[in-house]
Amino acid sequence: MEKKYLKIFKEFGPSGDEENISNYLKELMKSFADKCYNDVLGNLICVKKSNSKNARNIMLAAHMDQIGFIVTHIDKKGYLRFHSVGGHYPYNQVTQRVIFKNGIKGMICYDNEECLPKLKIDNLYVDIGAKNKEAAEKHIKIGDRFVWDTEPFEQFGNLCSMALDDRIGCLILILLAERLKAAKHNIYYVFTVQEEVGVRGAKTSAFAIEPDLGIALDVTGSDDAPGNQTKCSVSCAMGKGTGIKIMDSGIIVPKQIVDWEISLAEKHKIPYQREVLTGGATDSFAIHLTKKGILASTLSVPTRHVHSSSEICSIADVEATVKLLKVICESEKLPV
């Protein structure tokens, strides 16, 4: 994978502080769009109009925010207490290396061994190696956000990185924009903000755009890690194709959309899987329920270890998703 694509996974952008990633994505998108702009909440909206007479409006949404942390206190010795921004598992954080927007790095530690069995975020702190409170405060303020500091890599045809959720969706939109030469419809590439704290960016951007069809690109679970045998929570597995969403906790995709997407995938021999996810929602939740109701769906990339600092997905599934999305955008008739 090209370096410029891998950089998508490294740009700083926890929910509510998406400036860096937004600027980078704008850079990648600007030559493929007629217009790129940020709205009040910070969503990056890139519009590509179609020349086709019967063009409808399609909104493609991938959220550019990542889960992160927020500093709530700096103690006398210069250690930082924090809270999560988005859904975190406390045990995933122990000894993680983290980075701030200004480049300051640190490491997450826990108070003592007694707290480990029932670990809470309150038991964790960040050590940035500052001498004391005053030294720390020169670089860090209460309310500053930080994220994990890991490097993406490719191996066995898979991609491993933090923030695959949902920079993989952002990558899919970039790849689509590069390949889509003659879309039959007006395409709104929307890189949404604040998905991880309650699908907020998609809510306001869909209200403003009011598309005829909305498709979210996001990750879903993968049912193939050890320990998943009896407790089934998702129908998809990594490497078996793009996930065509039927249901999650935010949306039950209208039957005509599911059937249409499947027929397109079969016609173009694109590997796909029917996806039912028992927990979690994506931007399509907000788009679907906007105003008078908007037909919406999600295409998913099955991913292992979602919301950890090393999420893994298959590059073939990403390819399949881009292909299906391209076919959708090139379809003369939409089922709407």
Partner: protein, 341 residues
């Protein structure tokens, strides 16, 4: 303002029963605003035209307080209650209360300690297990019906620089909004949305953006937790009283835009108004639904630290209150200089 706040604190108005508060506010501001209406939720919406009417600021504060509601009347005249808004059950027993429209005095009663079995003394309090006795001899003579509200009979009082009382969450917001509306002339127009039903799920906030035009941003005024008396070691309390109003960076339903945060801090520094940040990310206010309504609206939540919030008596600091009024007013006066991009 202190007098007005004391009156507001002593008045009764839980979610769905805000009439007393609303009537008081109407009386206070009706000569200072250009229009005033009550919507179907019970929210009161005032509009005051400023010198520049192209810019309008949405100010909001909620009128309702946490209270109890009668959900059961026993044959022997005792009442059972549920909460309207969030309470710790343990702050409720052995308090003087007022029941229903006629404000019948009564008490939340507990069995005498002498009569309790040892294991009963250890049992946690639950709202469902509590009874209210208004001295009625039986069900037919108690003159109470299901759905009557029950309020703590707290009277506010001042002691030194501190105010004691109930419902500072969010009568402080209401009192400050009144102050702003009483200014002779504001440089920009303001809508003051006195929200109903915040404590049962930010209902007023969910409707506040609609039927209004040219909104530039929202300033929501609130009461918030101050736990500065019980904090552990070197861990921050959420807020501390006496250190100025608290600005929210993030809570359960908002992440404040960094542009508006920088802007308000610059104003506070320029005017030398003390402020602090709310140092926990729990709780939610009307600013949450307001900033994601429609296409989105920048929103800012400034809250007054209150010790023992959501209990019969809270404590606030009067210098904090004055600082919060000054900051809120400065934000409105400088509204034209706010830029999102």
């Amino acid at each position: 303002m202190i007098k007005r706040l004391i009156k507001l604190s002593n008045a009764y108005g839980a979610a769905g029963d805000e009439k007393e508060i609303r009537d008081f506010i109407i009386k206070e501001i009706k000569n200072n605003v250009d229009s005033l209406k009550i919507d179907h939720l019970g929210s009161l919406i005032a509009f005051k035209k400023g010198t520049n009417d192209k810019i309008r600021v949405l100010l909001s504060a909620h009128m309702d307080e946490v209270a109890l509601i009668v959900d059961k009347i026993d044959d022997n005249g005792l009442l059972g209650v549920s909460s309207v808004g969030g309470f710790l059950p343990k702050v409720i027993p052995a308090k003087k209360v007022l029941v229903g429209k006629d404000r019948l005095p009564g008490a939340v009663v507990l069995k005498s300690l002498h009569l309790m079995r040892p294991e009963e003394r250890e049992m946690p309090v639950s709202i469902r297990g509590l009874n209210i006795d208004i001295g009625a001899k039986d069900k037919s003579s108690c003159n109470v019906s299901i759905g009557d509200y029950v309020y703590f009979a707290t009277k506010a009082r001042q002691q030194g620089n501190y105010l004691f009382g109930k419902a500072f969450d969010d009568r402080v917001g209401c009192a400050i909004l009144c102050e702003i509306l009483k200014e002779k002339k504001l440089p920009v127009s303001v809508y003051a949305h006195f929200c109903a039903q915040e404590e049962v799920g930010t209902r007023g906030g969910q409707t506040a953006v609609f039927n209004k035009e040219r909104l530039k941003f929202n300033l929501n005024l609130e009461g918030t937790t101050a736990n500065d008396r019980d904090f552990i070691n070197d861990l921050s309390p959420t807020t501390e009283i006496g250190k100025g109003p608290a600005i929210t960076i993030m809570d359960s339903n908002i992440i404040t835009n960094t542009k508006i945060l920088d802007w308000v801090q610059a104003i506070a520094k320029e005017k030398k108004i003390p402020y602090q940040f709310k140092r926990s990310v729990v709780g939610g206010t009307d600013a949450g639904p307001i900033y994601t309504s429609k296409e989105g609206l920048p929103a800012l939540n400034i809250a007054l630290p209150c010790r023992y919030i959501h209990s019969p008596v809270a404590i606030i600091s009067i210098p904090d209150l004055n600082a919060m009024r000054d900051l809120a007013l400065a934000v409105v006066v400088k509204a034209e200089s706010f830029k999102i991009k």
